[in-house]
Symmetry: C2
């Protein structure tokens, strides 16, 4: 079996560490693994398959001989390193948002548009976490009737802000229990016992950057250039796994029964939908695994061709690390 020289750029962050874990779990055919991070993290030891690897500082020369580079770094570092990765002949599977909307660069969810991997020119972008979870949940409906619009409200976990997010939530909870104060550093306001309708930064027309990703990236992944999406992104005091309440409008009416069948059969999805027995997706049940749980499927009462859906998925895994490793797996086929 062919094996590959793999590097992780940004190996010490939450997504980078999860990429390492997922490579091991899925028995990715690794010949060698190089862990790259900023100078600050160089020298750190991280275990992989029983071996202790030393984190190296990422430089322009880090990529010689590499076949695949998994990117879990900032937009700035991704942009800086991309030309050197491509020049070294590796494929850069990048989780930053730097290249996602570049028409020359594929944006891939392997369950939805694996064919787009083929036209890569050395860079493949990994989509936004909430977008991956939502499109994985609803894409099966597209085969029954094209999706024309979605209205989504998200319930995003603190881990979406990196490893420091859940730590801040825990610190705040502890401080409140002791009657002490705690100055938020990761989130703009206290997230413990609160919800914050602001993720990313201001974008066009009073939407945030995070909210516009659902429309822009959703169009590109599902090959629906005219898809319209209204999204409201909200941070909630959850450790891990994002949830999304979404109504989906399609060209023709899809019955609830047909939607359930299609979603139950869709790759990457689990149907969890039994209201009478209190079965529905919840973030506590979807953390540390790779499937998107979908439920609460019912008719959208505001339009003839709509469905209301609730979905949850682990945004560090399927929403980031696992999706990137799945893209790398497509490259090996």
């Amino acid at each position: 079996m062919k094996t590959y020289n793999v590097a992780i750029l940004g190996a010490t962050g939450a997504v980078g560490r999860e990429m390492l874990k997922v490579l091991g779990e899925r028995n990715f055919p690794v010949k060698s693994l190089k862990l790259l991070a900023s100078k600050r993290s160089a020298g750190m030891k991280i275990a992989f398959r029983g071996e202790e690897l030393t984190v190296e500082e990422a430089t322009h020369d880090s990529f010689k001989g590499m076949d695949i580079v998994l990117g879990a770094a900032s937009n700035a570092l991704a942009k800086e390193m991309a030309p050197y990765i491509v020049e070294a002949g590796a494929v850069f599977v990048d989780n930053s948002s730097a290249f996602r909307m570049d028409p020359e660069i594929p944006l891939v969810v392997p369950e939805i548009n694996p064919e787009d991997v083929k036209w890569n020119k050395g860079i493949i972008a990994n989509p936004n976490c909430s977008t991956i979870i939502t499109v994985t949940a609803v894409n099966a409906l597209n085969a029954l009737s094209p999706i024309t619009a979605m209205i989504a409200s998200t319930y995003q976990a603190t881990s979406g802000a990196g490893a420091a997010g859940p730590v801040e939530l825990e610190n705040e909870v502890n401080a409140i229990a002791k009657g002490e104060s705690y100055a938020p550093q990761v989130f703009p306001y206290q997230i413990a016992y609160n919800v914050i309708p602001y993720i990313g930064s201001p974008s066009v027309d009073d939407y945030t950057t995070e909210e516009m990703k659902m429309q822009n990236e959703g169009r590109k992944i599902m090959h629906l250039p005219d898809l319209k999406v209204t999204c409201t992104c909200v941070r909630v005091p959850v450790m891990r796994s994002h949830s999304i309440s979404v109504t989906v409008r399609t060209e023709k009416k899809i019955s609830v029964e047909d939607a359930k069948k299609a979603i139950a059969a869709a790759p990457g999805c689990v149907l969890v939908d039994d209201l009478a027995n209190k079965k529905f997706p919840m973030p506590l049940d979807t953390s540390d695994q790779d499937l998107v749980f979908v439920g609460r499927i019912r008719d959208d009462l505001t339009c003839d061709n709509g469905l209301a859906i609730w979905c949850c998925g682990d945004q560090v895994r399927k929403g980031a690390a696992t999706n990137a490793v799945q893209i790398a797996e497509l490259l090996t086929k």
Copy 2:
């Protein structure tokens, strides 16, 4: 000034205690105040305006001489006591859901349909908490162009389940911090660090009872019999104040600018909408006060006549106790 003999039915619960507090704060013209509860709570002492009142057991004979009875009890107790309250000549302002959809009984949000108080026959219903907050936020748009549809996703605080809700959240957080287990009693699953897309009980077509209230009660309060509402109700680990992400469709297009002006001028609302300066409604800021905070107002990208809106309000106060006392105030005018 005329003063009134007032009773609170269910005076020891979260909403009943808040009604007592609100009567005091708003200087309601109380002649006498009677606190009624189940036999279990009889004998309990509760202070009102510096005086210590003793809780009495609610019986069919409790209402003689009363002018106004504020109801904060169960549907069953409300139904049992209503005929005796009406027979005694008092007006029953009831927070239970027992009478809300009865066409013979007004359902009132004083900022929206105060005129409906006039046709009461002894019972006036106080609407559902999330519904009150949402309609208070969006009703001003109706004057610009009638609302035809809403798609709402809620972020409902644990206090919506009564005083035991926040206690359960705190107990779970403490148990988790100690590595101990805790069996949920109020909510069907752990609510700490989780979100639960299930409030109320199963209703028609896989909606929950709580979700259908937004459409059914919204129609009655805003006098919009054809209003269509798709609602997804979700419990979040917040102590107090509900938040709602809602898109509102109107007959004609309302500009974001006109919507902001109308909402800023609407009774009961505060416009908190400045994304660049990170100003938007949050539950931490709206607790223990009576106004509904409204923000994140922007065009709904999925339809020509739509707006996306985010609102927060204290559901124990404006969503329950304060709204009931405001109805009682209308009765004194």
